[in-house]
Subunit: 213 residues, 2 copies
Amino acid sequence: MSSTPQKRAARKAPAERAAEITQAARNLALERGLSTITLRNVAARIGVAPGLVAHYQPNVEALVAGTFTAIVAEEIEEVAGLLAGLPAPREQLGMLLDTLLDNARLDVTAIWVEAWTLGRRNEALAACVREQMDAWQAVLQGVVEAGIAAGEFETSDPASVAWQILGMIDGLNAQALVRWNGVSDRGTHLARAVEGMVGAARGSLLPRSPSRS
Amino acid sequence: MSSTPQKRAARKAPAERAAEITQAARNLALERGLSTITLRNVAARIGVAPGLVAHYQPNVEALVAGTFTAIVAEEIEEVAGLLAGLPAPREQLGMLLDTLLDNARLDVTAIWVEAWTLGRRNEALAACVREQMDAWQAVLQGVVEAGIAAGEFETSDPASVAWQILGMIDGLNAQALVRWNGVSDRGTHLARAVEGMVGAARGSLLPRSPSRS
DNA sequence: AGCCTTATTGATCATGCGATCAATAGTGTT
DNA sequence: AACACTATTGATCGCATGATCAATAAGGCT
């Protein structure tokens, strides 16, 4: 009984194989971290020789950077999509805080934290990190500015406030990565803090129901 | 001309050599990250054979964990010392926020961020991280509770608020690790957010002078 | 002065990494 | 049916890691 038959991998169209590789890298990163993206790990995951992965990517650094961007950009688009469905900036901001503190997204948080460190030695990755941080900040700034225009928020520096909110979310998520217990009502406390920063009424950013645990 | 004479290292007392090794690991971590702590790197830094480092440490994982604790615990003690010199909780909290956002401490922030990731594969390190996070939280909670006792603050859940403040600080610092520009008045915005959470008067946590750049 | 404890060496092993490239074999086209 | 293109292999190189341990030499003690 051969648990791993070791047959030659079926020949596939380049585009298909390339997609398979980036997909494997993506799953690997989400499950075990960006640093487990190696030629051998990715190749093994799709039953292919290590050299083939190298053949489809200029180098591993680029694969890591690309995987980071794929994972993070997808989340941004997803959340931006959720935003569009809400009528008022107040509700949009509330949903944003609620969604981003969701523990189901801890795997993405782990990617962010690892990228911050890996970026010190992978310049391509560092550039992607800055790019995606800017994208997140733009989303937040947009909501804050819309709130100001609608008369719901009041702050003189939407850009800085957006960065600040982003930083807080990142920090709380990173914390949750290591410490699960201890903090109760993360959403409530954060909402209160943000309400203070954007000049919204107390409680105006809280979701109706206690919702997610 | 031999730039590196390669002589045998002078024999030293075990305690002294051990201290030399932990010190080298410490500096290495602060300069180039926890992951550059290797038997060879540490040994080279003090002009000693790799095997000697292994002789003084059970394994590299332990050296990394110990180095993390040494760096972080020292900072906590230092800040706790500064706290003791201030009369009122309001000033203590203000100083804390101001001090911890100081860019001069970015090297320690980098250690924290790297430890969060490395903790996934180094259980000893993970335990140290949780321990030091608890220590920081305890310091913050103490200040918040003192503020409540003094009638300066008002919140029903000092423990959670302390965790929250800690998370915010961590997040903003991690952000500063990657993005230097964009955010102005980090201290002011954070102070405003924290004032909201602890129920302090607006502006009461701001330092007198703009102080550190 | 001589010995004996032990700090220190450095070679070694097994492992994993990224990268490279000649050889191989599948596939669509002619 | 033969061919040509190219996806795929897998062996290989150089380098780095942690760990181990017999051999060496320094220095304190008698």
